[in-house]
């Protein structure tokens, strides 16, 4: 029997790292169990000549394609958007675009403003200090003063505009539409031990330079120095409960595959919007027959993905291709509701600089714009290094039929039931995507682009896993309360994207981490009566 720990965190990704770091100052015994291992930057794709090919195999964003022992399979046959993630210390911050917008204040009040979904039980102001703290630790770059998003004060200057950014900026100016350099977690100068970006380009599947922020190189070294214990290659099967209905610990498989029980006084789940409901549903027991913390029946429901409407084309001038971080500019032109557009809510835009030669060839062949045969070389030279892209991150509203359940047959390498996704794109989201594509086409055509192609939705675009253990004050309509504690189990907390009430129209990691820090702060303030 292991000694109990004060706090047990499940998952060492974006939110698990943040909550561990914040709680470390309490000097409690904090243990984090992570199913993956530490990353080795020397093995990152951009350190080798076959850097692009790796994205189709061991460095695929899809756990089903990667199939590493650290990954768990996901049955997403019933979804037009496939789940993508990464399982390691750092989680999906190891493999993300580092685009760093945050939810707007209006995103917390969608019921009040637009009469849809629900308001959050907290507001933007509650998160403000934690956004700021998180930006400092993750290390953000950008340009303050965006008139449509004047919230951030990045400690580092924005990324270079590059060739692609200038073409996009000119087109947006011609159309009179908003654009601005994106906040990113790419270090544009040496920062807190991280080297500045040198434009490796292929930064989504991990940054060999260490310029892109991921929690394995930001939060975790600090948390470990402060005394947090991080145990890798440990996959949690279930959370156990005692006779009082309190979490008593977890059953997990250690790095040798041996089943272990780790008792804990507090359990914090940080497994993302798919992994968290999977764990709660796998923790069903005689006390909690429908899954742990699921008296509302909402565990796994209201899955929100952010359907991505992507459109791209090719200009005559050279673009940045793979010679820069993929995203450089954003637009908030269509972020807020305008019912004249035919839908409620809105979308953020991230512009994409280009692609490398292998990706360009493979995708263009699949899109049938790159022919086989004699004309292949001429057409490839017209396409390669000339791509510009527009991706709309469309706000997905919560719908209970979009959900994560347990697959009756599929299991991971430890025999633990795998998640099954059932998801459809709503009529509102589809109208939003169609509208976004029309605007994207206008921008590309204004920039002089031809051979325009569409991915709507981006099939392997399920990066943002939100809403499946939503936050609220009503135990019948939510899974966790306004400070992240489950309504049903008073020593069980959730800090990842599953607690989002609505999704906004931006990449969520900044907000996920701010929420994790906020919840940690709430816990610290309530330590004397945390379970009341």
């Amino acid at each position: 029997m292991k000694d109990p720990v004060d706090v047990l965190i499940i998952g060492a990704g974006a939110s698990g790292a943040a909550v561990a770091w914040s709680l470390a100052e309490t000097k409690m015994h904090i243990l984090c169990l992570e199913q993956g291992g530490w990353m080795n930057p020397a093995e990152y794709p951009s350190a080798g000549r076959d850097w692009e090919a790796k994205f189709y195999g061991e460095w695929s964003s899809s756990p089903n394609v990667r199939g590493r022992p650290e990954d768990y399979p996901v049955n997403d046959d019933n979804s037009p958007i496939k789940v993508v993630n990464y399982n390691a210390v750092g989680g999906s911050t190891v493999m993300y675009t580092a685009h760093w917008p945050r939810l707007h204040p209006s995103d917390f009040k969608v019921k009040t403003l637009d009469g849809v979904a629900d308001d959050w039980p907290i507001d933007y102001d509650a998160l403000t200090p934690f956004f700021e703290e998180n930006d400092r630790i993750m290390g953000t770059s950008g340009l303050s003063g965006d008139p449509l998003s004047p919230l951030t004060h990045p400690p580092m200057p924005q990324q270079p505009m590059g060739l692609s950014g200038a073409i996009i900026g000119k087109a947006m100016n011609k159309l009179g539409w908003h654009w601005w350099p994106s906040d990113t977690t790419v270090a544009t100068m040496d920062y807190e031990g991280r080297a500045r970006c040198i434009n490796l380009g292929h930064c989504t599947p991990a940054c060999a330079q260490g310029a892109k922020s991921s929690t394995d190189i930001t939060y975790w070294p600090q948390a470990i120095r402060a005394g947090v214990e991080l145990r890798t290659h440990c996959r949690v099967r279930e959370i156990t409960t005692d006779e009082n209905g309190m979490a008593s610990g977890v059953v997990y498989y250690d790095k040798d595959g041996v089943e272990q029980f780790q008792p804990a006084h507090v359990v914090i789940i940080a497994c993302n919007g798919v992994g968290t409901p999977r764990l709660l549903l796998n923790s069903a027991s005689s006390r909690f027959p429908n899954g742990l913390a699921n008296s509302s029946g909402l565990v796994g429901k209201n899955l929100m993905f952010h359907p991505y409407a992507q459109i791209y084309g090719y200009v005559k001038e050279p673009t940045d291709s793979n010679r820069a971080p993929p995203t450089c500019l954003w637009s908030k032109q269509w972020y807020d509701t305008d019912l004249a557009r035919g839908f409620v809510r809105g979308f953020g835009v991230q512009f994409v600089r280009g692609a490398g030669p292998v990706f360009e060839a493979v995708v263009s062949e699949q899109k049938d714009i790159l022919p086989w045969g004699e004309d292949h070389h001429r057409v490839f030279r017209k396409l390669n290094g000339h791509r510009l892209g527009f991706s709309a991150i469309c706000e997905d509203l919560p719908e209970e039929h979009n959900r994560v359940t347990l697959d009756p047959g599929l299991k991971d390498s430890h025999g633990i039931p795998a998640p099954k996704i059932s998801y459809t794109i709503s009529e509102n989201s589809q109208k939003m995507m169609d509208y976004a594509l029309a605007r994207g086409r206008e921008i590309l055509e204004t920039a002089g682009a031809t051979d325009i192609c569409v991915n709507s939705p981006i099939p392997w675009g399920g990066w943002h896993l939100l809403g499946t253990a939503r936050m609220g004050t009503d135990p019948e309509r939510s899974v966790v309360n306004e400070w992240g504690r489950t309504h049903d189990v008073k020593n069980l907390f959730i800090v990842d994207g599953s607690i989002f009430v609505t999704s906004g129209g931006v990449n969520p990691t900044s907000t996920i981490q701010a929420l994790a820090l906020y919840i940690a702060d709430q816990m610290k303030q309530r330590l004397a009566n945390l379970f009341d």
Binding site: S46, A47, R49, D50, W51, A53, Y56, G57, H104, P105, S106, T112, L113, D123, G145, P147, S149, P150, L151, Q159, P160, M161, G162, L163, A166, G169, K170, M172, N173, G176, H178, W179, W180, P181, I198, N199, L200, G201, H202, A208, Q209, D320, N322, R323, A324, Y335, D336, P357, V358, A361, V362, E365, Q366, W372, G373, E374, H376, H377, R381, N384
Partner: protein, 149 residues
């Protein structure tokens, strides 16, 4: 269906021919075709997890052709290739991707495209900072976030 981890001699022959139909050699651009021996060797050496689907694609190709591709005349070969591309599904897409990912990392091909023969790290790339006065119209237009009552 052939063995999981290797291609038969016939499959290798068909792979060589279909690869050349995807990317033929070009005197104009001074590049080899995807049937080049070094590129083919790269494909076979790195098939790895793609072996099964590529073998399935080649089996499908063989069924369409009814004979090794090398034995078909040019017109028949072209017709088979078109049908293969149309009906081959995920397996054919994987085969095409394997051909292209090996072709577009060959030194001779990259040199022809003006791409340096090196991984991105550690040298990286230099990016122009750009003319940030392009933002002036955005600043002048102003605007605000949606207000909460």
């Amino acid at each position: 269906m052939s063995a999981d981890n290797q291609l038969t001699r016939t499959q290798r022959g068909d792979l060589r021919i279909i690869a050349a139909m995807i990317v033929p050699a070009s005197d104009e651009y001074k590049v080899p075709g995807a049937d080049d021996a070094a590129i083919q060797a790269d494909m076979l050496a790195t098939l790895g997890r793609d072996t099964k689907l590529v073998a399935a694609a080649l089996d499908h190709l063989a069924r369409l052709a009814g004979a090794p591709l090398a034995e078909l005349d040019a017109a028949r070969r072209e017709a088979v290739a078109q049908e293969f591309r149309k009906s081959g599904g995920a397996a054919a897409a994987t085969l095409a991707r394997v051909v292209l990912q090996c072709y577009y990392r060959d030194d001779r091909v990259l040199r022809s495209l003006g791409i340096e023969l090196r991984p991105p790290f550690p040298k990286g790339h230099v990016l122009p900072d750009g003319d940030w006065s392009l933002l002036d119209p955005v600043k002048a237009r102003g605007g605000s976030m949606r207000q909460i009552p």
